[in-house]
Symmetry: C2
Subunit: 342 residues, 2 copies
């Protein structure tokens, strides 16, 4: 449990990664009450310094002893490191918000999108899981619709940017794009195939039933966050040659009637969701516009006449912000609020 | 009606466009029995010459009188020009295969994918419509499944390349990509928004119910080709920064059970369809691999447990080949066969 304090010692684990960088920015932008920031990373980054609030913070090597005096540890260092180091952080007295998949499906770990299920934070055991980026933006848009008229089924196809993979994938898209423009053969390193000017229907490893782990995450995490263990969901997750922001084509069946305008109004009233939906003005959410912003954008809201109460939606959000760093910091903010309220 | 001849006078209308270029290539590759090739285009291209079978063919200006002596006219010049000039070609004695949307939904015009519904060519009135590229590849993959166990419902999300828009869009993606890589602001001209490193959920103009015309094409053309006027279909069509080949995430509900392996076997037996589906070897269809080839590729075949008889598929094909030029030439080949059989 976090104690009430004026300011907190915060550690960012994986501080030099794409999400870690964003975490520092979000902490600063939102004026999170940071007493001391500790930047932890692998040996490779030791000795580098990172900017924070106009000063320089040295990058320290992540060890089991890194968490002395840390109140809040924001992890974005992959599932393996989270499994190893998060328990050490908890034992040292820190509350962990982990961005990896390591703890998401563990019953004792709350899986939280603050606008959707902040109540799940209650009684946490020291580790709180940040959901998968594609799941976060989808549940943000769907939660108000589900509360109004239960969702029976979701069919989602994603258009996910390379920054979800990490900094090396951003560089790979950059390099391969230049190679293709210069008529050179693109060289895949991070991805198994060319990502420049191509779409890969393959995110994370393949798993049971020939679904990828990313696809299972969308199914299982959505069920856990919405507290609907039997919700009917199927997903196809696709990597597209976009640097930042994930887009999603989402088809839902509701239990009762809902006009597109009603859906737009419900989503507009949801904190953190912005409806951009005016076809006459070519207005709809775009990955390039969402990049670097905090909201989840929804557009292309249309009736799907192929089922009784069907709707189609196009949902876009910056996967590094609301999909990762921002959501993690928002969780920390809720913990601080709760501590202060006593 | 086409008469039986040794060789035919063929006109390509819109010969300098992305599909027109491909039509010449396909005619040559498949050794179509061309007596004389006439390349027709707008005034702008008059005076250029185009290669064909090692020789040079002058580009002539398209006029109402361009079709004297032409047996087969392959149109790829947009709906407006097709509406104006196709009737003149028919009156001059030519059979027209039109790649635009002008005649597709007219009851007297067969809408044909030869492997799927060649029988519809019978009794044509001189104009045969080539379906929309995204529709062609989808019906190619779904036809054998529909024949085996009726399809109840289709939910499709597309990942369409810029070559579907035309040569100027190919150049736009090229230029904007270079601009972004050089940290310059990309300048949209062909599309209403940046296409480089972005996804636009907007193909063709917006139409009734806030669907785009492209989305309605997929719904209505699929129904016409499969001869299922009430088939339940919904589509979301999206432009992605890919030069060539369209990808599609297709979710279907069947009327009865079908194992993924059964679906793979049925599709493998379909002429023109190639199943690429081995997750353990990272094998699935890719736009970059399909470019320049003739087949429709299907992979990521999975059970969708969110409905009784659900399946997910990933369908990829070169939109300029099977999606346009190849399908048009295949229609012409069927007409020639029929003529020769008498």
């Amino acid at each position: 449990m976090l104690k009430a304090k004026e300011r907190y010692n915060v550690a960012v684990v994986g501080a030099t990664g794409a999400v870690g960088e964003e975490m520092r920015e979000v902490l600063e932008e939102r004026d999170f009450p940071v007493a001391r920031l500790t930047c932890l990373a692998s040996e490779r980054s030791e000795g580098r310094t990172l900017e924070f609030r106009g000063g320089e913070v040295p990058v320290e090597r992540l060890t089991e002893g890194s968490f002395d005096g840390v109140d809040i540890a924001l992890f974005s260092a992959g599932a393996e490191r989270a499994r190893h180091f998060a328990p050490h952080a908890v034992v040292a007295g820190a509350v962990v918000v982990d961005n990896s998949s390591a703890f998401r499906m563990e019953p004792q770990a709350p899986l939280v999108v603050p606008e959707v299920n902040a109540h799940a934070l209650k009684g946490h055991k020291g580790i709180i899981a940040n959901p998968n980026c594609s799941t976060i933006q989808m549940v943000m848009a769907l939660k108000p619709l589900h509360d109004a008229v239960r969702i029976r089924r979701i069919v989602v196809s994603t258009y996910q940017s390379v920054s979800g993979t990490g900094q090396d994938a951003i560089e790979e898209l950059f390099e391969q794009s230049a190679q293709v423009l210069n008529m050179q053969p693109p060289k895949p390193k991070v991805y198994p195939h060319q990502i420049a000017f191509n779409c890969l229907p393959h995110i994370d490893a393949f798993d049971e039933e020939d679904y990828t782990k990313e696809e299972w995450k969308m199914v299982r995490e959505t069920r856990k966050i919405l507290e609907e263990p039997d919700m009917r969901i199927t997903a196809t997750t696709v990597r597209v040659p976009v640097f930042r922001s994930h887009s999603e084509s989402v088809n839902i069946e509701l239990e009762g009637p809902m006009e597109p305008n009603e859906a737009r109004a419900l989503m507009s009233a949801m904190p953190g969701v912005v409806v951009l939906d005016d076809p006459a003005r070519n207005l709809y959410p775009l990955a390039a516009d969402a990049a670097g912003t905090d909201a989840v954008y929804v557009g292309r809201v249309r009736r799907d006449p192929s089922v009784p109460h069907g709707l189609n939606l196009w949902i876009v959000s910056d996967n590094l912000r609301k999909g990762a760093a921002l959501n993690a910091v928002q969780i920390a903010e809720r913990l601080v609020e709760t501590a202060r309220r006593g």
